[in-house]
Amino acid sequence: MEMRAVYANCLAELMERDRHVCVLDADLAKASGTRGLYERFPDQMFDCGVAEQNMASIAAGLSSYGFRPWIESFTPFATRRICDQIAISIAYARRNVKIVGTDPGIAAELNGGTHMSMEDIGVLRSIPGLVIFEPADAVQLRAAMPVLNAYDGPVYMRLFRKELPDVFGADYRFELFRADTLREGRDLTIFVSGFLTKDALDAAVRLEAEGVDAEVVNIHTIKPIDRESVIASARRTGAVLTVENHSVIGGLRSAVLEALAEEKIPVCAVGVRDRFGEVGTLPYLREALGLTVENIVQTARKAVGLKD
């Protein structure tokens, strides 16, 4: 099932249970997969039209009236474009608003560079009090939605819209603020978020064939990062690789580096190298921007090679 369908189903369940849960769109309900909910929840679904700033502040106002608004748009419009509304109307005012950015990073594919956000995590991570979450698959998304909804404070979620292979099993138990170790290893730790999690696992299999035993840790909550788990795993393996569908400036790599600032452990990164996106299919963009299993394997080798 597409991630956006899972997301929409979860929202429907939350709205069914609580009439104060509501969703605001900026003319992208169809893209977010929530257009179909308008008929079923006429008093909980609101389309603001192409006016993201207004959407964000209206949500803040609704939250002051006891509502739990979710606002959604393509990632750059849900983050960069409304950065001050998120900072002031939502975070500074401590409003209970959930912000959903769809098609993060190269997932924007054929919409191209204008619709491709490589810096949203970096921008929002510097705003105090905002939780930043990125699901790796539908299992994790499904488990997280009620937790995020119940969390009393602002949350930003990066949502890949299309179908993703499951990396978590049916017995998965989600804990906000707690990283998930998907695979244990001795030689290096791969910290990964979002849709590249499956690729990190595939890379670990290839590395194993070469005799490199990689640990794979999914960081679903990038802020606040599970510092304890990051440090513990990095100390155990002695080498780190971060993998993200985002700029290497400001995102997962930066968060991991901050956590490891006082450790003498090499940290290498797979991510977007300080450049804008461009138009293309996902396979093309993976190659063009270096977000491939092959690049993960190569960079992992480099990280292991940097160990003392």
Binding site: F46, G49, N54, I58, G61, S64, Y65, A93
Partner: protein, 274 residues
């Protein structure tokens, strides 16, 4: 029943006193909205200072958040907190920051200060009240300079489209902004026609610093409820109203110095004592 003129004097004098005590502040745009604050907090709004979070209360969102000091003077005089607290304005650790903060000040309904945002928040609050069917009236105040923000017009469009007739907004049309007159910087005229074109009821108040005129306009706006349109009350005001030398600073009075002595002299003059 309160004597509005007396209330206006009290709010104006307390605003001058707390800014004078600090030595600097957003004097002009505080003094221009005193009459509105008096009418709202002492006549129009269904509120209870003993229960600042009372469900179903009327709300006031001061989108031009820099009028915080005047709002605090109104709240203190209405009994939300002690008037002596006004002298803590902008001191470290105060609950009275220069711009309105819902998490710090009893009676403040929204955090504002980044212009344009409070107005959208007010629209969200009005939508919330409609959904709750609690019958509250949501009041909000924007500045004329603030009306240059695109977000104001996004919210204007939305409020009309959603028929939020429980929303009564005010423009503090004092014709001045930080850099110069509004007309010279980036003119917003014809304001009445703009709001009407956006689907709002528009009420023009010739003298927004005449409490009786403001009171009559608010009553008129309240009667428009049920008509399916939000209302914009354009208050033609004087920035720095009530203290001649401050008024004469023109655009220079947006954020200016005021000594304790100057404040006391102005207060004596307002009270007819000297």
């Amino acid at each position: 029943m309160y004597d509005l003129k007396e209330v206006c004097r009290d709010i104006r004098c307390d605003t001058l006193r707390c800014i004078g005590h600090l030595g600097v502040g957003h004097i002009g745009g505080c003094l221009s909205v005193v009459e509105l604050l008096a009418v709202l907090y002492f006549e129009a709004m269904n509120i209870d200072p003993a229960q600042p979070k009372m469900a179903g209360r009327d709300r006031f969102i001061c989108s031009k958040g820099h009028a915080g000091p005047a709002v605090y003077a109104a709240l203190a005089n209405r009994g939300y907190f002690d008037r002596t607290e006004l002298l803590t304005l902008n001191r470290g650790g105060t609950q009275l920051p220069s711009h309105c903060d819902m998490n710090r000040t009893p009676g403040v309904d929204m955090t504002t200060g980044s212009l344009g945002q409070g107005f959208s928040c007010a629209v969200g609050v009005a939508l919330g009240s409609k959904l709750e069917r609690d019958g509250a009236t949501i009041y909000t105040l924007i500045g004329d300079g603030e009306s240059q923000e695109g977000q104001i017009w996004e919210a204007a469009m939305f409020a009309a489209a959603k028929k939020l007739d429980n929303l009564i907004a005010f423009t503090d049309y004092n014709k001045l902004q930080i850099d110069d007159t509004v007309a010279k910087v980036n003119d917003i005229a014809p304001l009445e026609k703009k709001w009407a074109a956006f689907g709002w009821n528009v009420i023009d108040v010739e003298d927004g610093n005449d409490a009786e005129q403001v009171s009559a306009a608010v009553k008129l706006a309240k009667r428009a409820r049920g008509g399916g349109k939000p209302t914009m009350v354009i208050l033609n005001t004087r920035k720095g109203c009530g203290v001649r030398w401050i008024e004469e600073l023109g655009a220079g009075n947006h954020n200016c110095k005021l000594s304790e002595e100057q404040a006391e002299a102005a207060i004596r003059a307002i009270r007819g004592e000297g």
